[in-house]
């Protein structure tokens, strides 16, 4: 019975580990914002490196298209997970608005990249991807929130 209980606890922990909990303090909310921004940087940088590889002729059309498509899905998932967290104060609400707006910009660029890649317009990718470095820089400013 003890072993069974341990197994249930382990299973519950496994299932709960990936869930997003509520935020009760501004500090906790800032940490969640910083984590979401960090995850989004990963998505944006993956897209940037993929487009760079494609532009150099180092990637296949299928690989580029799939990678950008997965990035768009990830961006949407990160934004949604962050936006469902209840902000605990007015300041946190403002943070939510600012970061959500930035996430929306990222999603628009990633969507455009995915559409161009799937339509076989690989030559357009570098120009569509031009805003990515700046978006990364802006996201990194939100990552610093965790230490404030």
């Amino acid at each position: 019975m003890a072993r069974f209980s341990a197994a249930v606890v382990a299973l519950a922990a496994l299932l709960l580990a990936g869930c997003v909990g509520p935020s009760r303090t501004d500090r906790d909310y800032r940490e969640k914002a910083a984590n979401a921004a960090e995850s989004m940087v990963s998505v944006v940088e993956t897209a940037r490196l993929t487009v760079e590889s494609d532009a150099r002729g180092n990637s296949t059309a299928r690989y580029t298209s799939l990678s950008l498509s997965e990035g768009e899905d990830d961006a949407s998932s990160i934004a949604m997970s962050f936006e469902v967290v209840q902000p605990p104060s007015r300041d946190a609400e403002q943070l939510r608005t600012d970061l959500s707006s930035l996430f929306s910009e990222v999603s628009t660029v990633l969507g455009d990249l995915r559409i161009a890649a799937r339509a076989g317009r690989g030559h357009e990718l570098p120009s569509i991807a031009e805003p990515l470095p700046e978006l990364t820089a802006r996201l990194k400013k939100f990552m610093e929130l965790a230490s404030t």
């Binding site: 960090e38 990963s42 940088e45 299928r62 990678s67 997965e70």
Partner: protein, 409 residues
Amino acid sequence: MKRVLGLALGVFTAIGGFMDIGDLVTDALIGARFGLALVWVTVVAVIGISTYSEMAGRVATITGRPVFDLVRERTGPRIALGNVVVSYLVNALTLVAELCGVALALELLSDVHYLLWVPAVAVLAFVVLWKLPYEMMERVYGLTGLALFVFVFAVWQLGPDWGQMLSDVTRPSVPAGEGLPTYFFYAIVMLGAQMTPYEVFFFSSGAVEHEWDASQLLDARVNVFLGYPIGGALAIGIQAVAYLALQPAGIQVEHLGQTVLPVAIAFGKIGIALAVLGIVAATFGSVMETLLSSSYTVAQHFGWEWGKAKKPVEASRFTALTLLTLVAAVGVALTAWNPITITIYSVYLGAATLPFTYVPILIVANDRNYLGDHVNGRLANGLGVIYLVVVTAAALAALPLLIITKGGL
């Protein structure tokens, strides 16, 4: 010459067999996140898996019987049954991860969603399982899996600062922004990925399938002591390219495509092709190994007729269980649960249950009634006990660390 070629083929097979989806994902994930700060875990894991695989292989070659058969006889049916249940479940979950791994790799090359590849891969696995001779099956995926060395060559191509890399490996430190609990959580995950229990079951049962006897003890030892360390070098190569190409950009690996990205940067399309070929071969091989290992453990415990070499009608329960396990694994894979998450949890559970695999092997390898003069020497016992302490500590720490780090966040 023929003997040397045979030994070399065995080593190549072991190298390809060392890598699976758990390794591929965790190596890239950890390299991108922790740089080379966990390379020491790979070294620890390779010594551990080699020590215990050698013991299991020696038991099988000397007695002609696989480990689980002897475990039941030596420890009694109740204790052995618990061991079998845990081993079967971990193997089966790993099988789900491997099936998804092959499908995800094929998705990188095709316009077909990975979920549609899963049943096709399962059908192919079943056909190969019953149509291809054991040795050929092992060698085809083992040798093709060597294409993964493109990751090692990519390290040179990416032009690293070798001095910095050496310093990172020899003086590991927790990267800024990461906590010590997260560092150790991923150390345990990597240990689970590289000391996968099924490798020991498969190696031991494979020795019986090959009908190895005492005269082939050298083959078994060469496979283990050369093949696994070279496989470990391959794992370090994947960590290194992720450290060089992904970590500076702040990329967190969540897709198989991100594992391949450094190779694309280094070698372009040919790099992608070789990496995908290697991943398909290594993960398909692991589908075979986890599938067979699942059925081996159960069949050997209950004393059923077993073996891939046997006709299905001669080993009907073993065959039925193999088929049922494969169908169930396909069912779980088709739930569309994130395959990378499945992989991480399967290696985590593998780590948490490692003592269940290693304790009985150590007991049997010390029993003179079975092994006569071939029982463990001081070195094997010393290493065996040290590793038992290591894997038990890892298993005990696994759950608290999972909770504290919220699953490695």
